[in-house]
């Protein structure tokens, strides 16, 4: 009768919190996307799992809710933070739709890609920032364009989730072009692929260069603002402290 919704962080097991580890250990059934279940396999051992492919999120979360309603202790896992483009919202929507308000639900936050990518690159999100997904599966592209444009006008550093997929090969290019109408092409940017996993790579480049870059769906992109600079090999957004020297 307990349903945990757990963010497992950016990949490697050492990026889970102790609270998340405890909740996993108390759970009898672990529900998630196969790739993310595999990443935390060493932590869950022989526990029962239920996985579905991508885009079968609703089916997956319904299974978890039904199992919890039947009295089991269940964990729904998302990589990163389950509340940021993860499964937390969907679980609450299902709970409301089926009217199960006797299930005890606890959301356990995880390190989301915005801050784990920022940590790899340096400190580009030290001040106000916006988080925008380029996936138009559930959002009209016009809304995404509007958010990119207004976020750039507002001077936010921008963290881009889901910058690309097979069907959306040119979306990052389109996004960069929108931002470049408001910000200099010289704006320092960066991206990280496979955060916290085997083959993690980070790259720092200008917004103009980023528009020409091919990235994949395992990549998180950060576009700086007018206070972002490259310091050594790090991407840093200065906050404006005096007396630094």
């Amino acid at each position: 009768m307990k349903l945990y919704i757990i963010g497992t962080g950016p990949g490697e097991a050492s990026q889970l919190t102790e609270k998340a580890l405890e909740a996993l250990s108390r759970s009898e059934l672990i529900v998630g996307y196969q790739v993310y279940i595999d990443l935390i396999k060493p932590l869950i051992g022989e526990k029962e799992t239920f996985t579905t492919p991508m885009r079968k999120e609703v089916e997956r979360c319904k299974y978890a809710v039904e199992a919890a309603a039947a009295g089991r202790t269940v964990a729904v896992v998302s990589s990163g933070d389950a509340g940021v483009y993860g499964m937390a919202g969907l679980v609450f929507e299902i709970l409301e739709a089926v009217g199960y308000n006797h299930i005890q639900v606890e959301v356990i936050p995880g390190i989301t890609a915005a801050t784990s990518a920022a940590a790899v690159l340096g400190a580009p999100l030290t001040h106000d920032f916006a988080v925008i997904s380029l996936s138009d599966l559930l959002t009209p592209w016009e809304d995404i364009e509007k958010r990119l444009r207004l976020a750039a006008q507002a001077g936010f550093a921008i963290c881009i989730y889901n910058p690309s997929s097979k069907k959306r090969g040119d979306y990052l290019k389109k996004a960069c072009e929108i931002i470049m109408k408001e910000a200099s092409g010289d704006t320092p940017c960066g991206y990280v692929r496979n955060i916290g996993r085997q083959g993690q790579t980070g790259k720092i480049l200008t917004l103009r260069e980023l528009a020409k870059e091919q990235v994949d769906m395992f990549t998180t992109v950060i576009v700086g603002n007018r206070n972002t600079r490259v310091m050594g090999n790090k991407l840093v957004t200065a906050r404006g402290y005096k007396d630094v020297e």
Copy 2:
């Protein structure tokens, strides 16, 4: 010669990642704001610490950099994520100013208040969102106003850090009024005080009600967008999945 910049999460020790715990244990000197050092005291035992009051961040980080330059293993700690309104950017700025590029620096991300507050409230940040601080110590108020206005126009859920202080008692009210020019006063919102600490309290209310609320500096506020609803006692931003029922 190693400098860790560690995000210690929202308060309780169980919200640190294993990676952060390992870095703390390897460090000889822990540098931070007294309140946050106290929160993780059980984790650092008898290790040497260096603390300064609020607003003495530059002095604190310079001390850490000098100690690392002298060959010590040093941790600079911030609550939440050190890269989000934390010490990470400042450390890189100081390193650049003094020209110490021989120090090995590693930023270890933590659970930032946006996602830990969201987890307490439900799932209000499931889709695109903006993070804005109301502190005008380092940022002109006009810039903050502009960001609030454009973020609301863009339809972002908005997470507000530093919503109040003794000198800025009416800033949250002002912020809500700016957002209400773009969004309905009925927009569901929430706030959490003392996230992950003794006395944690969360409250869900409308934007109109939020404008009249007195909150303190230990509070994180989340303003929903047009897809945010109250489900049971949770604040949830729906992402638009079909077939939920």
